[in-house]
Symmetry: C2
């Protein structure tokens, strides 16, 4: 058999021990003379990277050695405190292009006291940091592992390549009962030939060899995908380092078949092959996103070996090809709500033929795997504070609670905040107005367009090149129009104001010009119509009522913290979200925009297998609260449609509006809060 | 949750015990008053069928109850010794159409001494009997199990259907960590609807729900397939009873691309897409055989949920789509030699979308999974006698040994014995001459054609309707020609004989008329040419040399027993196989024809999961002996080409030939040995 574990040049039965200190962890202890530094590190609980199982072939377990003087034995020890580099070690260091002076810990044996530095790239316990409401550290421990093996050419009487590899996986890596994916088995002979016996195996869950590649490979790619009703967001990660390598987004192509989840269900149920068509459309789009993201790092979709999907319950069912009919009527029972593991090829995804897909569980009928992603990212179930998490999407999902009790509900927000069903709405792409400021005194309009660093007033009009308005821009435009008095608390444009930008839109309805024809890339002005303002009102009212429902059930009058999540292009403007009354009144410094928490949660599950288990548990533990009776809901909903005004108990909102007006009066373009928010 | 386990009408804490005797097993013992007969049976180790886990819904656990008088408590017990049938029980008995008076053991509770008869259809420990060399009993314990569940319609707040089912599988059947195949999940809502909540699950290896059907189903179908180089044989089994339901066979369509394994390897390696083409051809043919076999029992290929494949190493690799190139040259190392489990759909098989395939392991380079099947069927590794097993096929495989040491080798027999490369050869199908007798004195020829019960001399010529000659017929024809002196020991037609049937064939070579133009369905005579005789000589010499090789290695001069296996249409004629020198000399009563042992072994692995484990072990344990050096082999091979004659040490063959001649002289159409062999 190839690669016998190299034995020490020092007698392994020697009674001598030496002190070894590992940096930067600072762990230290006495180890037997003659053992390898890799074994010493393992004995002392120091993680050093090695994908060849200490066989001396991968060159990953590099360390920098300094001699130490910690032991009394030290005077008796051999002249060097570590064995000198063997020819084999020098050959591997040269083959892998390692820096001179670096040692391989599997081939350096302890012969005296040692101070050993493990460089960052060789440290096995990697982690990523999620920077959101609170900084969270996520250990990188994916369900995928890589293994490097060197297999000697067969001789007469040898077992098959498959058997010899499985034996090595058991003897050297402790992986018993592993098996090959058929596609990996098919690729095996060519990989052995091309790699001259050296092959890298991609192994799923310590059980299945899903890919075989010639030579050394140690950066498997994974894709986390948030399937929104309107938009898809994909995150390509290096499963070894945990690094986010690329992102890609697209409209959900199912939009062609219906704007919201109810219309998707109808299409799926009523149109022949409707379900299959919706399934294939989203799967095709996810494959495309994977290919696009991979192309950004000079890789191909075939390199994607693991994938995590999240989405609301209907998106979840359609992505899996499951009948969503039951989700369309009481009691909204999903076909599958627990986690699902499936081969990517069985979904029709064009990733590696051996690639796996993990679909996070659902919480309940309408509270989907995307919301489980939000929980993974925001961890309300681990906190003392009562947090309200509003995930803004076409199907809004809301969480409220803490480690004691966590409630969830869903809210049919509609696609306004994703730029759909809005006159000049578009998704967050170059040309989209993403930020809007209207001076309440001068009424000057200042916009920021995706793809342009400066705001419009710093640019000649013809350079603004606005093409439409995306979700975050729509929210800001409505809030600014309201603060400026151009829109009344009822949502109507103020008929008493005579502003040059207040015009009649294409269908004769009142509209506001956000970008003039000169600022527009289309030659026509970009408008926000009365109907658009109404869409925003309906959306924000739905979210507000959902939050109220949970607060009532949880018996709280106010919350300690609010997190605003959503797959917007840019972060949602928390101040303006409060001004329009999307969320309950709360001190602004207790409101955080956390970006696409669902997508972040998918990424966390992609990078850490134990978080998948946690997701399944917390999904079952979270309580789903359904909306109250039709009439009661209707009353609350209607009451939530106007914007917060004097007759509403919104002290924080009133203060923010006052500050905004004062700042404008003083000639400052932004209030203090805004400036901070814009960071 | 539906179907709570029915509780006993008797106080379960009662200290009373009663004696219960189960027939026909005769097992008996005392059980607590009030427990169900199903639980009583389990406590006493009596297997009673139940696929609903004792929920009282499947109606499988039927028993016949007679009161007993075994206990002194009996006088004090309630008037009836078993609880009377409840309304629920009566309803199920009626729904499942059970005989009146039959009780369901899960709903009949012990209230006194009882004598319980378990009818055959309710006995859980089923077995099949293989009637071959020795009768062997194979317990039916497939990797597939069926479970019947009744799921209540969901109510608000219920978990998903998937989760509720997985919970029931864990709580009622002890199957923890099970998961759904995606195709089963897709079928779930419709099955629940159609079955009004009652569904049957097909579960693979207690782990994966691979199929969901509405209502009660308990006879899953499995297909065992022997993939020969020339012919395919498929066996459709009821995985519940173990019964062989149907068989189907076909030519291996790969024959178009090359007659033997070497030419298949060449095609695969040299022709673009060659490997894929060979793979698809055989997979398509196996799908067809599955559909044909299923149609014979009014089922469809979609009902096939498990499949076991065997074949020689090259057939094995091509069926899996693996590159067979390495099998074409030293050291003949297979890509995959261990057992392979794969989804049928991943091979392209058109069975149930959730169906599984198990491929038996290989023994070595050229000794394939078919030979592992032969071991499973013949069990040489469990015997004291030294047995020689010759599996006659295009790639012949030979086993020799016993429980101490088992050797194997392969032998390039060529396709003669499968009717290929023979002038009028055909596979064993209606019209094929399968038996041949030539009176050595009168030289009268008597043939038997598949599809006709009588021999030819009992029929008017025009009713014989011969179309060609299959493998068993070819072997007999050559042996008979030799015994009759029409063919010399060298294999040449005897030039000194002037027989009206000895003619010149189409290419001018000597030929013998087996069926006259009148007896032929084609209008032309069916011939056996000099070349055909030579093909048989080469084939039998290859097998003989292989057997000699193993005997030399094992250090034995003779064997205790010989088993002749092969996928012939009818059993191979052991006497004539000895006469032509295909096998070493041996008393005829120690030679047995065992039919398609490889196919039988596949069937055994299909019906019993532990035999799959045994197959993997014995495949590793069997020693592969490779042919000796080219020149030595060549010498032995050339020496084995003539038929056994005076100068050869074949006492048994000489006796058989003498008997055959004596019998013919006495006017008996068959010798004693033949008559026995023909049974």
């Amino acid at each position: 058999m190839s690669n016998p574990i190299k034995s020490s040049p020092v007698n392994p039965d020697s009674p001598l021990t030496y002190k070894v200190v590992f940096q930067p962890s600072g762990r230290s202890g006495r180890v037997k003379a003659g053992i390898s530094l890799l074994d010493a590190a393992r004995n002392l609980g120091v993680g050093i990277e090695s994908i060849c199982g200490g066989a001396g072939t991968c060159g990953k377990c590099q360390v920098i050695i300094e001699e130490g003087r910690f032991s009394k034995h030290d005077l008796n020890s051999s002249p060097a405190h570590a064995s000198p580099p063997s020819e084999d070690e020098q050959a591997i260091c040269s083959k892998r292009g390692l820096t001179a002076g670096v040692r391989l810990s599997c081939m350096a044996y302890v012969q005296g006291d040692l101070l050993v530095t493990v460089p960052e790239e060789a440290q096995a316990n990697r982690q990523i940091v999620r920077k959101a409401a609170t900084e969270r550290v996520i250990p990188v421990d994916p369900i995928i592992r890589m293994v490097l093996l060197t297999i000697d050419p067969p001789v007469l009487g040898d077992r098959s390549d498959q058997e010899r590899i499985l034996e090595l996986l058991e003897s050297r890596f402790g992986l018993s009962g592993a098996a090959f994916e058929l596609s990996a088995l098919k690729a095996l002979p060519a990989a052995l030939r091309e790699g001259q016996g050296e092959i890298s195996l991609t192994i799923w869950n310590d059980q299945v060899v899903i890919r075989v590649q010639p030579g050394l490979h140690d950066s498997p790619l994974g894709l986390a995908v948030d399937i929104g009703s309107t938009s898809l967001a994909a995150y390509l990660c290096d499963l070894h380092t945990g690094a986010l390598l690329a992102t890609a987004s697209a409209m959900n192509p199912q939009v062609t078949y219906g704007d919201d989840i109810m219309s998707r269900i109808s299409y799926s149920v009523e149109i022949p092959n409707g379900r299959e068509r919706l399934h294939r459309a989203v799967i095709h789009a996810i494959s495309e996103l994977g290919a696009q993201a991979a192309a950004q790092v000079n890789a191909v979709a075939d390199d994607i070996v693991d994938c995590v999907l999240v989405g609301n319950s209907v998106m979840h069912h359609l992505a899996l090809g499951l009948d969503p009919a039951q989700l369309g009527h009481l009691p909204f029972a999903p076909v599958a709500g627990g986690p699902v593991d499936v081969a990517a090829r069985d979904l029709g995804l064009k990733f590696n033929p051996g690639a796996r897909v993990h679909v996070l569980p659902l919480e309940a009928g309408y509270v989907g795997a995307d919301n489980v992603g939000v929980i993974l990212a925001e961890e309300p179930h681990k906190q003392d504070e009562i947090v309200l998490i509003v995930d803004v999407g076409t199907n809004g999902e809301i969480l409220l609670g803490n480690r004691e009790r966590l409630l969830c509900t869903s809210s049919p927000t509609g696609p306004a905040f994703e730029g759909a069903q809005i006159t000049h709405g578009m998704r967050a792409a170059p040309g989209a107005i993403e930020r809007v400021r209207i001076d309440p005194h001068t009424m000057e309009v200042n916009i920021k367009v995706i793809g342009q660093e400066p705001w419009s007033r710093e640019l000649p009009d013809e350079q603004v090149q606005a093409r439409g308005i995306c979700g975050s821009g729509i929210l800001e435009a409505v809030a600014e129009l309201f603060v400026a008095g151009l829109v009344l608390p009822s949502g109507k444009f103020n008929p008493k104001l005579n502003h040059p930008r207040l015009i009649r839109g294409p269908k004769g309805q009142p509209a506001f010009v956000l970008a003039t024809a000169e600022q527009s890339a289309t030659g026509s002005p970009i408008l926000l119509t009365q109907g658009d303002v109404r869409s925003v009102q309906l959306a924000k009212a739905a979210l507000y009522v959902g939050a109220q429902l949970l607060m009532k059930e949880r018996g709280v009058q106010q919350v300690d913290r609010i997190a605003l999540a959503g797959a917007f292009g840019s972060l949602i403007d928390r101040q303006r979200a409060m001004i329009i009354g999307m969320i309950p009144d709360c001190p602004l410094d207790r409101v955080t925009a956390v970006g696409n928490a669902a997508g972040d949660g998918a990424r966390i599950a992609l990078l850490n297998k134990s978080r998948r288990v946690e997701a399944a548990q917390v999904a079952r533990w979270t309580e789903h609260i359904t909306s109250p009776l039709e009439t009661e809901f209707q009353e609350q909903f209607v009451a939530a449609i106007p914007f917060p005004h004097a007759s509403h108990p919104f002290p924080n909102v009133r203060r923010m509006i006052a500050e905004r007006l004062d700042a404008a009066k003083a000639g400052e373009p932004y209030s203090k809060g805004e400036a901070e928010n814009d960071k």
